[in-house]
Every structure is written in C-alpha cells, then in structure tokens.
C-alpha cells in the first residue's frame, strides 16, 4: 500500500519547462511567439537593452528534447545547425545545476529548466500569461 494512494494518477507525469532569467531581469513574461524569437536568435536584446544570452543543455537531454519539439519545432539536426551558427550567443551547461548557476550569475541570461528544479535565485517568466503547472502552459511534453 502506498500512502494516500487514492490521490495518485490525478495528474500527468508530463515534463514542464520553466523559462528562467536572472533576478535583476524585470521581464515578467512574454508571448510564445516572442520567446521563440529569443531562443531562435531572432531577438538579441531584452527590453532594457541588455544582450540576451541563452543557456542551454545538450540537445539529447529530455528538457531539450521537449524544447526542440515545442519551441523550436525543428528536427534535431536542424537544431544543431542553428546552434553552430550562433556559438557566441549561447552557453552550453553540462548539468542542471550549472545551468541554474549560469542564469543566476549572468545578467541577461535566459535558460530552460525542469520546473521542479527551480530555486529562489532565479525568476520564472510567464509564457502567454501562464506559469508552469498552470492550465494550458505552453512548454510541456512527454
């Protein structure tokens, strides 16, 4: 028997990605379309003029698989080509901890992380007015 077993199965195990920025970034949220522009290197600056620096994980990680499917809407090879063409605007983190630390410490940094890994040293952006785990949130997938 599992404790409180009756509650199980009430929600999905789908992965949800949080869009995180450093604490000094006052951007509360953006549309999915604008977020896509940021992550496809089509928008290089935040509203306050600071340069955008993407912090990403290896494309093989589950988080990036979800991002490639939902945000980039690309095949993995296309995504790798996009990264190769914009090496100077992206930092590749080797772990989730490294990603969180990079975003926390680099002004203008933005990253994607499993929502259950966020800490209080980063801000989480709304996408289309919704935070992760709210109904209809954009960045989720199995």
């Amino acid at each position: 028997m599992l404790l409180l077993v009756a509650s199980l199965g009430a929600s999905s195990e789908a992965k949800q990605l949080a869009v995180i920025v450093d604490k000094t970034n006052n951007t509360g949220g953006m549309t999915a379309a604008d977020l896509t522009k940021v992550f496809k290197f089509d928008n290089h600056k935040w509203p306050d003029g600071r340069p955008v620096i993407l912090v990403l994980r290896d494309p093989s990680t589950p988080e990036m698989q979800t991002a490639i499917q939902k945000l980039y809407k690309m095949q993995p090879e296309e995504f790798k080509a996009l990264l190769s063409a914009h090496v100077s605007g992206v930092i590749m983190a080797r772990s989730e901890e490294e990603l969180l630390k990079s975003v926390e410490s680099i002004p203008g940094a933005v990253g994607l992380v499993d929502v259950y890994s966020i800490n209080g040293r980063v801000n989480v952006l709304k996408v289309d007015g919704k935070l992760p785990l709210e109904q209809g949130y954009f960045l989720k997938g199995n």
Partner: protein, 497 residues
C-alpha cells in the same frame, strides 16, 4: 538568594534542553516547539507515518498542535497529511499565523506547503528546493518532498531521487524503500522496484504492508501468482489488513477468474467500513463487465447504487451509474444513466461539495466521450461547456483538471486537431480511455514512436478500475489480431486456416 553556581547551572540546563529540542535527531527536522509534549507527539506522528499507520499519525500531529497551538511546523505537517479539506484550510491558516515563531527550516517548509496548497507552485517549489539545499541531511524533509512530488504531482522520477537520498541518510528508513518501489514500478522499471521491495520486507518483516506492496507491484508487473502469494502472506501477518483481502479480489479479476474474484471481494466487503463496502462493491460489480455479462453487471451496479443511496454516499451512487454507462451498447441507455448520475449529485446530502464536483466532472467528461462516440456532437459540445464552467468555478486541479483535459482531448481529436488533442491527453495519461485516444492522436500527429511506447504501456496496464476493464482487454485482443495479421507465419492459429 541562590548561589552563583546555581545561577550558572539553570541557564545552562535551559540552553542544553533548547538545543536538545532543536536538534535531538541529527538527521531529522529542526523542531522549534517549546512544548516537550508537542515535540514528543510530533516525533511520534512522524514515526507512525513512516510505518503508514496513518490515522495514528494524524492523531499524534493533532495532539502536538493541541499541546502547542503556536507550533507552526506541526500545523503545516498536519495540513499536508490530513485528507479532510476543512482541516487542511484551518491548519494551513494556523501555520501561516504562527510562521513568525518558526525556525528557518520550518519557515521554508511552511512557505513550500502553504503555497502549494493554494496552487502557487513556483514559490512552493523554490521554497522546497531551498530547504533541501540548506538541510541536505534531513531525512524527513526529503521524505516529505518525495511524497509531495509523487502523490501531489505524479512525478515518480523526481520523487525517487528524494527517497534514495533518504536511504543514504538513514539506510533503515523503511518507507523510503516502499515509496521508491512504487516510483520505479510506475516508471516501468520493475527490476529496481522489486529490489526496493525486497529491502523493505527485510527491514520490517513483521508488518503486513511490505507484503502488500510486494503483491501490488507484482500485480502491476503482470506476475499474478506472485501477487496472490504475497497478499496471502500479508494476511497471515495481520488478518485485519483488509487492503490485502481486496488485493486478492483485484488480482483474480485481472487474471480473468471473475467468480473467484467475487468470492475474495465478498470477504473484503464483509469486514470493510461503510464507505469501503460501497467502494469495493463497485470493484466487484466490474467483474461482470470483465466477463462480458452485461446484464449481471447492470444488476450488480444497481445494487451498489441502492446501497450508496441508503448510506448517503451520493458521489458513489453517481459513480455506479457512470460505470454502467461505459459498457452500454445503446447510446440512449448510456445517456439515461449519465442523467441519473448527474441528478443524484444535485440532491440534498452530506457529501462535501468538492467530492460532488469531482464526480460531476467525471460524468460530464463521460458524456463528452459518449457523445463523440455516437456522433452526437451537440451533446458532446454542451457537456464540454458545462465541464469548462465547473472547472472555472471550482479550479481545475486534480480530478476536475484531468477530466477537463480528457474531454478537451476528445473534442480536439473529433475535430481533427491532433496536436491539441495530444497536448490535452498527455495531461490525463493514466486514464485508460485517454491513453487509447492518445495513441490515435500520436499516430495522426506523426508521433509513431510515442504511439508505440504508449500502446505497449496500455496493453500492460493492470489496474482494477472500470476504465481499464472496458478498454484494456479489447485493446489486447486488437493488438494480438493486428500482430497475427502482419505476420501470419507467427500466428499459431494460422495452421488451422
């Protein structure tokens, strides 16, 4: 006037006592209550919960906050474990009111659980992770986090990390192995699940629950004979562990031995509480559906509805009618049953509104699915609109949320919006009906890999629920037929054709 020695000694004794109260368990929570009785009762509550003696644990937590009404941690932990919605709100508010007197770890736990209970998940997760990072040797904190992730958020992969951390801190913490076993089973990793259960049974050989867990995981893995053996071992250790008696019924039902299942269910029902009698009778009634005896199923479900009505469990009465609607061959008969279910939910009764809303959401979602199945799109659209209104008025968490997603997925699939259907069904991916539709949505959306993985998962789904009963046996037959058709040489029946 006392001596100087005494004046030095008294503060020293107090300082030592305070230190002892705050840190008496080096791998446990930092507990700040000034009341020794509250402290002892709280520790007792945790110990009871560790052994899954839930009611005893709740009583101890209640005793702790009674002894020290300013004990904020006691209030928030009681809120977390309580299943009474009224008590949850009262205890959360008391925890927040007393938060100022909490120590730093307690304050983070309050921020985490109080925010979570109000669906403010971002600050909740931030507080939880901060607590975990600042108190990496607190086994109870990691254990609570594991439970929250598993039970409230269905996150087996994240939860198992917490339970394994508990094992590192305290290798004798029995329930960590129990919970980890369930996590691994839900992830489909039965080797790790059984390894954890084995350890769990060794740690607490005289408790029935390890055998019950062993049985349940065996059943999930399709090892039905092993499941029967361990349920019986559980009952030998404690004949009053009625969940194991129920498990025998469930296992025989899934094995296809419906007469034997009903015999075992009858024994469980005879000793169950009033609400258990009704709940378990619903499972017994489903055995007739499994054997294709629909008239027998109607008779049994109607009997459960009468029983539930007499005891004023109108949500369960409605569930009986909804269950009947699933297998009706005639659409009108199905809708009539759903109408009866909806009507009883609106009668005067004592059942909490939250439970009535949950059942109403399930009824409406079933009407959407049946409407679409019968090509009655107007009925489906009207029911969907009602369900959306219910979710807007009451919040779309938990069962109402999954019902809404299941219905929205069905609507999107019916309209040919396959990507949208996938998005919705993925939010309800443990319901057999949604799983079957999600496979279709994946296929139509060009996600063949996901469709194949989910089809294998659905075919192996062994849960004693009516949705499984109406979906999985048929799905298995269809897969077997397709496999035989695609490779007739491997079909043993081919030689007779």
């Amino acid at each position: 006037m006392g001596s100087n020695k005494l004046r030095i000694l008294i503060p020293a004794v107090f300082a030592f006592s305070a230190l002892a109260l705050a840190h008496d368990v080096p791998t446990g929570m930092h507990i700040s209550t000034k009341s020794p009785q509250a402290h002892v009762a709280f520790e007792k509550g945790l110990a009871k919960m560790e052994m899954l003696h839930i009611q005893d644990g709740l009583e101890s937590f209640r005793a702790a906050v009674q002894a020290d009404p300013q004990f904020a941690l006691g209030h928030i932990v009681l809120m977390f474990f309580s299943q009474d919605p009224t008590e949850q709100v009262v205890e959360r508010d008391k925890a927040l009111a007393a938060r100022a007197s909490a120590n730093p770890e307690e304050a983070l736990i309050i921020d985490w659980l109080a925010n979570a209970s109000q669906a403010r998940y971002i600050p909740a997760i931030q507080a939880m992770n901060e607590a975990l990072s600042k108190f990496p040797r607190d086994k109870h904190l990691h254990w609570l986090a594991g439970w929250w992730l598993l039970v409230d958020h269905n996150q087996s992969q994240h939860a198992v990390v917490m339970f394994e951390k508990v094992m590192q801190i305290d290798p004798k913490f029995a329930d960590a192995y129990n919970e980890a076993a369930y996590c691994y089973a839900r992830m489909g990793n039965f080797d790790n699940a059984f390894a954890n259960i084995k350890h769990y049974t060794e740690l607490v050989p005289n408790e029935p629950n390890p055998q019950d867990t062993f049985a349940e995981i065996s059943r999930m893995a399709g090892r039905f004979e092993d499941a029967l053996t361990h349920y019986r071992m559980s009952l030998r250790i404690d004949p009053s562990f009625h969940e194991s008696q129920l498990g025998l019924g469930d296992t025989y039902a899934l094995m296809g031995q419906q007469d034997r299942a009903r015999e075992e269910y009858a024994k469980a029902i005879a000793v169950g509480s009033p609400v258990q009698k009704v709940l378990w009778s619903l499972q017994s009634a489903a055995t007739y559906v499994r054997e294709g005896n629909l008239a027998g199923a109607d008779k049994a479900f109607n009997a459960v509805a009468v029983q539930a009505h007499e005891k004023d469990f109108v949500n369960l009465e409605a569930e009986a009618f909804r269950s009947m609607s699933y297998y009706q061959l005639d659409g009108t008969a199905s809708f009539n049953l759903l109408n009866k279910a909806e009507a009883v939910l609106k009668e005067g009764h004592k059942v909490p509104q939250s439970l009535l809303n949950q059942e109403l959401a399930s009824v409406l979602r079933t009407r959407v699915e049946r409407g679409l199945h019968d090509n009655n799109k107007d009925v489906a659209a009207a029911a969907f609109k009602q369900l959306q209104a219910l979710a807007e008025a009451n919040g779309a968490d938990g069962l109402i949320g999954t019902a809404l997603h299941g219905a929205a997925g069905a609507m999107a699939l019916g309209e040919g919006n396959f990507a949208e259907a996938v998005n919705h069904f993925e939010e309800d991916d443990s319901n057999a009906i949604s799983m079957r539709s999600l496979i279709t949505a994946y296929e139509k959306n060009g996600q063949a890999g996901n469709a194949n993985r989910l089809a294998a998962k659905l075919a192996a789904l062994n849960v004693p629920l009516i949705e499984q009963a109406v979906v999985v046996p048929e799905f298995r037959k269809m897969r077997a037929a397709m496999a035989a058709k695609s490779n007739a040489a491997l079909d043993p029946r081919a030689k007779y054709h």
